[in-house]
Amino acid sequence: MVNIKINGKDIQARDDMTILEAARENNIQIPTLCHLEGIHEMGACRMCVVEVAGAKALQASCIAPVREGMEVCTHSKRVRERRKVLYELILSDHPKDCLNCGRNLSCELQALGDIIQADEARFKGELSSDTVDLSSESIVRDSAKCILCRRCVTMCNEVQQVKILNAQERGFATLIGPGNDLLMGTSTCVNCGQCTTVCPTNALHEKDAIETVWDALADPNKKVVVQTAPAVRVAIGEEFGYPAGTIVTGKMAQALHDLGFDYVFDTNFAADLTIMEEGYELLSRLVGFMVGAGKVTEKQAEELGFKGKLRQPVLPMITSCSPGWIKYIEHYYNGQLGHLSSCKSPHMMLGALVKSYFAEKEKIDPKDMFVVSVMPCTAKKYEITREEMVNGGYPNVDAVLTTRELAVMCKQAGIDLKKLEDGKFDNPLGLSSGAADIFGATGGVMEAALRTVYELLTGREIPFDNLHVEPIKGLEKIKSAAITLEGVKDEWKFLEGVEVKVAVTSGLAGASTLLDQIKKGESPYHFIEVMACPGGCITGGGQPRSDDADVRAKRMNAIYAEDEGKTLRKSHENKDLQQLYKDFLGEPLGHVSHELLHTEYVQRNRY
């Protein structure tokens, strides 16, 4: 520990702290702009300068370490004037059309103005390039709004390792982008949208689907169906003033009814469905492997219901719920596509069912249906445009709104979430288990799958407290667990004693590590869950931007609380899902499932 003084206050700080960290820990706020805790700490914008007694130059507090006896002033005249000059210089090359900017009142540059109080614009001149890149289905890049803070560069290169955003050219001509003549839509961008969550201005944002959805709602000939992903309900409250981690499932369902959607369904229903399809797919690969190894006969496999359904025994199998992850593997590890589960992501499954099963049931022509998915994700906007995501000539899903966009629509419609009573999802595609809820957090899909598969094989619940597979819970980059199958049912006896090894990762850097293992033939795992965004969908590219450093943990805890609050906690016990199999799908991996719920992948190039 060292003793320092900040603004005359005696403070004890850890030796490894920066001045900024020491100040914040003691409730002294220093304005920052490019700084992102734990991610982007490079002192680029210098907005956080402070005066250190005895030092000639002002110090960037975000990178200046504390020293014994240091005396710091965070708001001296010199500091205030310097910040003002810096701010005015940034503004001199920034369009000042805040009122018609998508980030009006949620812009960090604008918020900084409130502190800096720059009441004049001394530096006037040319503005740099105002290219608007609309080529991507997911992300819009508006270079006029860019202040070159490089948060997105760090996110894209270091955290996600997609590496398409870098500074091109130099000086006044500097532009953040993929370079050469590539655009967001023609580069190897995977649409994860993490850049849009860290951009302090409107330079990177999701492609708007709000008007498209309003138009559909206003069309008297359309039956508009909406569904919401598990992670939306633990985050959208933040846009209405609730603290991070508040669960607003009922209010959200009510808001969707109030917005005028004809049917309010839950993607969670399809998450349960995913567990059935993906669980059986894993088993079919395991059995296929055993057949290949001569440990199981073809006849045994048939008796277990795998006649004509045995998959190539490619292991580990990897989850396919995250479309950012899918595009990543298609570009960066296109020799490993056989490891991907063939399951569509849950909202695509639900869309496919709405326009088949539900349309038949309600006698609605699927051409008159419009399916909207509310997602924590920007990549889903791209996913719905994939040509594989079409059945019977109709796209499975017609529009994707991010959580942020749904909040905007509510505000446009005068709906204050806080004032709503709890509403309910509609049936039959609205019921879900707790296992579906946890899809929203890293490790959730794996835990949900294990809850079902283990029970299917042994007739008993997974041997973990409260059904939580502790080793794969939490926010670490890569997590793993091993579960030994004991006391398996007679028909599965050949799996007795097998140690099933699973791994879970969120964020594409972790995915890359696990894929490198697979490439080298060194992966010890049978099943891997990958989510493109660090933390999983709870902090997806379409979620509310948060200044709460613990936002991930809070939303994750909310997700697990939602799960624990239900009596129905295992996908295979979902009654409506069982009915769906009975009435329509037949059985997991069956012919109808194959047509509607499974998909194929595309080999793409990295360069």
């Binding site: 290169n157 590496k163 398409i164 955003l165 870098n166 500074a167 091109q168 050219e169 130099r170 982008g177 993929p178 370079g179 050469n180 003549d181 590539l182 580069s187 990295r606 360069y607």
Partner: protein, 164 residues
């Protein structure tokens, strides 16, 4: 290495790429050698088009946007092919005060291209230099290695007409 580069005009594309690959190998595929590798690539190909950048990125297992970022940062690197005749206009202090800017405008008009561009027939490319050491002869331009002294805009057409 010098000799090989000198022969580049006669190399087939396959030979050019194999020489580049050898250079990347010589530089141990290391990212901190990227600038040297780009210098070699420009010496071999004359410029650094997207295909060459992609080749380098792929061989070095680094991102294309990073390679492009470095290429476009340094003015020495060019993503445009150079003309058969490289016109360099001196805008050092002496040439500048003696009307170098007017020479730039006259050349732009005559060739219909901007600075750092090449005519569509790849005959001429235009560059600006800071002092070529001919201050006593200002304003000066050079075409390939031939220096022209006390140039005035009216002489431009005549000078260019000597080049086939």
């Amino acid at each position: 290495m010098e000799a090989k580069v000198h022969e580049c005009g006669q190399m087939t594309e396959k030979e050019q790429y194999s020489l580049l690959e050898q250079s990347i190998k010589d530089f141990e595929y290391r990212e901190d050698n990227l600038i040297q590798i780009l210098h070699m690539a420009q010496a071999i190909f004359g410029y650094l088009p997207a295909e060459v950048q992609k080749f380098i990125a792929e061989k070095m297992d680094i991102s294309l946007s990073h390679v492009s970022g470095v290429v476009t940062f340094y003015s020495f690197f060019s993503t445009q092919p150079k003309g058969k005749y490289k016109i360099q206009i001196c805008l050092g202090t002496a040439c500048y005060v003696r009307g170098g800017k007017k020479i730039v405008d006259a050349l732009k008009d005559e060739l219909g291209i901007d600075i750092a561009e090449t005519t569509p027939d790849r005959k001429f490319s235009l560059e600006v230099m800071r002092c070529i050491g001919a201050c006593g002869l200002a304003p000066a331009i050079s075409i390939n290695d031939q220096v022209y002294k006390r140039v005035n805009p009216k002489k431009i057409h005549e000078i260019l007409s000597q080049y086939e």
